[in-house]
């Protein structure tokens, strides 16, 4: 695609899911480009050139201290204003796994109260992604649900069935923790973007929340990896699926299409 919207994929030491994120953007019709965080810190204005942004998974800075902590802290002090400007410009941002952990630490999620403006300085984190209830890293596909009232642009209008409404997860620190008042507000305001199915709720997140968005619905953070489900052969049981079941696009790809199509409409 020579004409698709440009997508920025931010890399850094220890980021390691940049390739699959690039492929997911490309499969959905965008033109991805990986840029190292150091380059963006030196020149935050580079962010202005992009219509989509992805903060990939991985182990940024080894996830030392806590997952996403160091990279989030670096971003709060450097590229945060440029990212807020992008959000205000309508740029969808996806933050899977370590990206979600980083976004939470960087003050990008859950974002300001609905209707309020983004603060000039990054807010103190109000959501934590703590160590899994089981105490260890876990790689598994889980069934997910999309709340009907979500305002997340990435998960709008997705219909799921039992055999294909799945996403892969692979993390050690994905247990979402926040105060009850905040969680109530996120639910009411449609900022819960995706939940784990009751039977597949392995990390112990409060209210089974797998992903949230900011009030604009543009910034989407989630522990699962939609970028790893853009081809049917990535599905854990694809050899059992009928051609009929495989006719629609995989769930992860549909999320990326949602965002890419939105940038095209916005043109």
């Amino acid at each position: 695609m020579d004409h698709g919207p440009r997508a920025l994929v931010i890399t850094a030491a220890g980021i390691n899911c940049d390739l699959e994120l690039m492929h997911a953007f490309a499969a959905a019709g965008a033109r991805p480009e990986a840029v190292h965080l150091e380059a963006l810190v030196r020149e935050p204005a580079r962010i202005d050139r992009f219509r989509l942004i992805g903060l990939p998974g991985g182990f940024s800075f080894g996830d030392d201290v806590a997952a996403g902590r160091i990279m989030g802290a670096l971003m709060r002090r450097s590229v945060y204003p440029a990212l807020v400007a992008a959000i205000e410009r309508g740029v969808p941002i996806i933050c899977p796994c370590n990206g979600f952990q980083i976004a939470v630490q960087a003050g990008l999620l859950p974002g300001p109260d609905a209707g309020a403006a983004w603060p000039d300085a990054a807010a103190v984190p109000t959501v934590a992604l703590a160590q899994n209830a089981g105490g260890s890293f876990r790689d598994a596909w889980t069934r997910v649900e999309i709340p009907a009232n979500t305002r997340c642009v990435w998960t709008q209008g997705l219909e799921l069935d039992d055999a294909t409404g799945l996403l892969p997860s692979a993390h050690g620190e994905g247990r979402l923790v926040a105060g009850d008042a905040l969680l109530d507000r996120l639910e009411v305001d449609g900022q819960v973007a995706v939940r784990y199915h009751d039977a597949d709720h392995f990390n112990g997140s409060m209210r089974r929340i797998a992903g949230i968005c900011d009030p604009s619905g543009l910034v989407f953070g989630l522990m699962p990896h939609p970028e790893r489900f853009t081809r049917w052969t990535q599905h854990p049981r694809w050899t059992r699926l009928s051609p009929h079941q495989r006719r629609a696009e995989p769930l992860g790809l549909r999320m990326f299409r949602n965002a890419v199509e939105r940038t095209l409409v916005a043109t």
Binding site: F59, D64, A73, L74, P125, A130, D139
Partner: protein, 1007 residues
């Protein structure tokens, strides 16, 4: 003098303490008294000039999570803090764990970097973990600390919070050139020198060195002697496998393959003698490598043309498509893992990843494999000097997890084998697969190229690792060689990888001309190898070091992790430096390749401290003739006695259930789930497949090149149950590896394999005899399957001397790793049953021989024929081709290899993976009439396959199998029900719930 400040981070009240809970679980698993409660806190010690306010900000903004955690800040007493002694533990006991000085502390490095970036402050950091224990006396707490919470080899364990006034620091030493006089030593004195200086060189080798220095007319300097010892170590030069060996046989049983005498006459390099022996010159070259060179011989019309680099580089390389190559290497890290399993396994995979990065101009690692051999987890009375097997297995898994996951390399395939003889010598195999452009497969050093090191800094880590890994382990070794143990830092390696790939893929072409990794022997091996043809000048004082005080010898032989060496044209240095800076990877110019006389000159601040003749270094090692006597009766007697028959019978389905619970067969989900086996997004067939991801896949399939329909299958074969004859064992392992690959969809005409020999000491001619048999079988197997070996490694001193003088030898162990091309990822195959009514085919014949089978291991099987089954590689290859053709034509819904446990357990696995039942008639199994039902159900005969075929395709499958001349039969069908039903000629109909079989398979085996 900067002060040391202390910060503790612990969960806020009301929040879960998952680390404390995990510590309690680990205590219970270790069989130790479990405290009523364990509370965990992360400890950070920061040395630097910080005000109390700055420290508070570091704690709150960097170290503690504002939602779930609170930070307790303890400034240094000199900065107004309360002395640590006045902060008494709140619970009954405290265990606080900190890495010992000099041990890599990756989290500390990250915090130093973050404090600098965020606050502009320079601090030195050490991390630790504090455990407060309720309901446990201090003595019991100390035991828990040493056995569960820490490893004294790498950790300092404190009974109260540790708050030192300052960090220990290295002191610079005066550097002087040390000469080691040996020209006049007697043989006895040479041997003593070898032992006392930890050189582990034989007398012959010491004599060769003596002769060389007599010729040079001077004494060797310490650094030269150390370099020779590293380079000549078994670990580096495969002295045993390359030696000349005289092989004889004794006590051969009927049916066992004779190799001595004239059996191999006519094979190049094999010389039969009148006394019935055969002499093989350079065993490796005449067996494993000979097969490959025959298969790829350009003079042969049917030659294999897709091998791009075999045996010469850090990994073996084959063509993937017209543009891309894939490479594979498998390493062992046995000794370090025996002493410090977490660090040993992590640096094992880290080192193998660097082998892939150091292949040609650098490949990108895309998949990893891990195979572990340990003693049964319930082993009582572990000998002094050995860690408990459960701890070893749990920690090696954690090490592979933390390094592989951080590197972003999916660990996609593995196995665990249990045998009591691994108690002192656990085996840890780490394999890594990479992908690279075909134009990057070969590098070439030019004289004048700069010697550039990138990645981690050099410390005293791992000194003597190579020589240590070439020595037998004794009970006292753990402390003597603790400095040979290391902790890895995956992010340092990831940064080096990112920088290398950016430098490789730069628009104008690669910025360097050759690359290799620093593995065993460190710079001495890496530079020594690269400078083989050019010589070099190396300024050792220029290497960035972790701390002051390293001697030139230590810099030269340190095995510090995460370092790569590149040969860089001088004009490219500036650009390469910029690339490395952009990726946060340190670069250092160590000197240059090329010297007037072809030697390697070692300098320290301009003064020559050593000079090495590259020819003597690489070719000077004497290769003695070794004696090998394969004593069949002795080999058979080494096999551990069978079990007590628990769980066996009375019905076949009961035995099937017991076999599924055997730890070799039982689910490894607890391991697999800890690995991100899907990172990079390329997975096609995952390690667990089917309904609820409930079935064990035969192998993994990945997409190395996104967007290409072509895929790559990865699998392994390990037949340690057959160790009573290493020849049969080797053929069985190759056959199993091929079957696993074929079952997932690989084309058997495009399979390449690797050998990893782990052997007990070959100073014992009987073990050497087994090694010869294995090597000869490698030749036969590779030729028959047309599966070339492309890389290999050996570890040949795996035995443990106990305090009371017993020697525990591991079983001869050969791991065969393989990868093969899957032409269309859409045709990849999984082992889970797909639909009721489908027909189950068994390909291949079953006999009466139960030797080496898991059924025999269970015990209570006195009536069985305990000989090993015969392997016929030609028949195995024919079966592989025919089955692969059926799969490629889309005629097969599921395929599974019944090698471990035999037919019934394999059918059971297919059932629960498919959420379906099956009905099996053993009387239809292709077998002679006198083969008992129990053999039909549980024999582990080679080259057999189980296939699920839709009724419409039965005719086509039968034709393909019949045309290939293969015995085969429809032995039953898939059922809707939840039962596995079995009937046989002498077995009345039996049935068992599939759920019951699955529960047995899922019974916990570790973790």
């Amino acid at each position: 003098m900067p002060a040391v400040h202390r910060v503790e981070v612990r969960p806020k009240p009301g929040h879960r303490d998952t680390r404390g809970e995990a510590a309690s679980r680990a205590a219970a698993a270790a069989g130790l008294p479990v405290p009523e409660r364990i509370e965990h806190a992360s400890v950070y010690l920061l040395e630097g000039d910080l005000t109390a306010a700055q420290l508070r900000r570091v704690a709150d903004e960097l170290l503690a999570d504002p939602v779930t955690q609170a930070a307790l800040v303890q400034p240094a007493p000199s900065a107004g803090g309360v002395p640590v002694a006045e902060r008494l533990p709140r619970l009954d006991a405290v265990v606080e764990v900190h890495p010992l000085p000099g041990v890599t502390d990756p989290a500390a490095e990250s915090v130093e970097l973050a404090v600098h970036s965020l606050f502009g402050l320079e601090v030195r950091v050490r991390t630790g973990d504090r455990y407060d224990l309720a309901g446990l006396a201090p003595a019991a707490a100390a035991t828990l600390g040493a056995r569960v919470l820490a490893n004294p080899v790498i950790h300092g364990i404190h009974a109260e919070p540790w708050h030192p006034e300052r960090f220990p620091a290295g002191t610079p030493r005066e550097v002087r050139v040390v000469e080691v006089p040996l020209r006049t030593l007697s043989d006895a004195e040479l041997e003593r020198l070898s032992r006392d200086a930890h050189l582990f060189l034989s007398l012959d080798e010491m004599r060769a060195i003596q002769a060389e220095y007599r010729r040079l007319g001077r004494e060797p300097r310490e650094i030269e002697l150390e370099t020779l010892a590293q380079t000549w170590s078994e670990h580096c030069v495969h002295k045993t496998l390359k030696s000349t060996v005289r092989y004889r046989e004794a006590n051969l049983a009927p049916g066992q393959r004779a190799l001595a005498g004239d059996a191999l006459a006519g094979r190049a390099g094999h010389e039969p003698a009148a006394d019935g022996s055969v002499t093989v010159r350079n065993l490796l070259k005449r067996t494993v490598a000979a097969a490959t060179h025959e298969l790829i011989d350009p003079a042969r019309p049917d030659r294999i043309d897709w091998c791009l680099s075999v045996f010469v580089d850090n990994s073996g390389v084959i063509a993937f498509d017209d543009v891309h190559a894939v490479c594979f290497k498998c390493e062992t890290h046995n000794r370090p893992s025996a002493i410090e399993p977490y660090g040993g396994a992590a640096t094992g995979i880290g080192g193998c990843i660097r082998d892939i990065m150091g292949t040609g101009l650098g490949a990108k690692p895309i998949a990893a494999t891990d195979i572990f051999c340990v003693a049964p987890l319930d082993t009582p009375d572990v000998p002094a000097g050995c860690l408990p097997p459960r701890r070893i297995l749990t920690q090696v898994v954690a090490g592979v997890r933390d390094y592989g996951n951080r590197m972003g390399i999916p660990t996609v395939n593995g196995a665990v084998w249990f045998d009591p003889r691994y108690v002192g010598n656990p085996l840890v195999f780490c394999g890594v697969v990479g992908v690279m452009p075909r134009t990057m497969v070969k590098g070439q050093v030019h004289a004048g190229d700069r010697i550039v090191a990138i990645g981690g800094r050099t410390g005293r880590d791992g000194i003597h690792g190579a020589t240590f890994s070439s020595a037998e382990v004794e009970h006292g070794h753990a402390s003597e060689f603790s400095h040979a143990v290391q902790i890895g830092n995956a992010i340092t390696e990831k940064k080096a990888l990112d920088a290398m790939l950016a430098a490789r893929d730069r628009a104008g072409g690669p910025l360097y001309r050759a690359a290799t990794d620093c593995g065993a022997g460190g710079f001495s091996s890496a530079v020594g190898e690269m400078a083989k043809d050019t010589g070099a000048t190396v300024h050792l004082d220029r290497a960035p070091v972790k701390y002051a005080g390293l001697t030139p010898t230590e810099v030269w032989i340190s095995e510090a992790q995460e370092r790569m060496v590149l040969a860089v044209p001088p004009a490219n240095i500036a650009e390469l430096r910029a690339v490395c800076e952009a990726h946060g990877s340190e670069l250092c110019e160590l000197g240059e390749f090329g010297s007037a006389d072809g030697t390697i000159k070692l300098l320290w601040n301009g003064t020559e401290v050593g000079s090495l003749d590259t020819h003597f270094l690489h070719e000077g090692v004497p290769m003695p003739t070794r004696e090998a006597v394969w004593d069949a009766a002795w080999s058979a007697a080494q096999v551990p006695p069978a079990g007590d028959g628990r769980g066996v019978g009375p019905r076949l389905v009961d035995t099937c259930r017991a076999l599924l619970a055997h730890p070799n067969l039982a689910s490894k989900a607890w391991i697999i789930r800890q690995y991100d086996h899907e990172v990079q997004g390329g997975s096609v067939v995952k390690p667990l497949v089917g309904v609820g991801d409930g079935g064990p896949s035969d192998g993994a399939v990945i997409h190395p090149v996104p967007g290409s329909p072509r895929a790559l299958a990865i699998a392994n074969g390990l037949a340690t149950g057959w160790s009573s004859d290493a020849h049969a064992m080797t053929l069985a392992a190759i056959d199993e590896c091929v079957r696993n690959l074929v079952c997932t969809g690989a084309d058997p005409a495009r399979i390449a394999i690797l050998d990893n020999f782990c052997w007990p000491s070959c100073d014992d001619p009987r073990n050497m005899g087994a090694l010869v048999r294995a090597a000869e079988a490698c030749y036969e197997g590779a030729i028959a399957y047309r599966a070339p070996f492309i890389s290999g490694k050996d570890s040949l001193k795996n035995q443990f001397r106990t305090q009371d003088g017993r020697t525990i030898m591991i079983p001869p162990t050969l791991l065969v790793s393989g990868f093969g091309i899957v032409e269309h990822a859409d045709r990849a195959c999984t082992m889970d049953l797909k639909a009721p009514g489908n027909v189950l085919f068994l390909v291949g014949t079953t006999g009466t021989r139960m030797g080496g089978s898991h059924r025999a291991m269970l015990g209570s099987a006195t009536h069985h024929d305990l000989r090993l089954p015969e392997v016929d590689p030609a028949r195995g290859a024919a079966a592989a081709r025919a089955v692969a053709a059926c799969i490629a034509d889309g005629l097969v819904r599921a395929a599974h290899d019944p090698s471990e446990g035999g037919l019934l357990p394999a059918v059971a696995e297919m059932c629960f993976a498919g959420g379906l039942g099956a009905s099996i008639d053993l009387s239809r199994v292709p077998a002679a009439a006198d083969v008992a039902d129990e053999c039909r159900a549980f024999a582990e005969d080679p080259h057999r396959y189980l296939l699920e075929v839709e009724p419409a395709h039965v005719g086509a499958v039968e034709r393909t199998l019949a045309d290939a001349g293969l015995a085969h039969a429809s032995i039953g069908h898939v059922t809707e029900g939840a039962l596995l039903e079995v009937v046989g000629a002498r077995t009345a109909r039996e049935s068992i719930a599939v759920a019951e079989l699955q529960a047995a398979w899922n019974a916990p085996t570790g973790g």
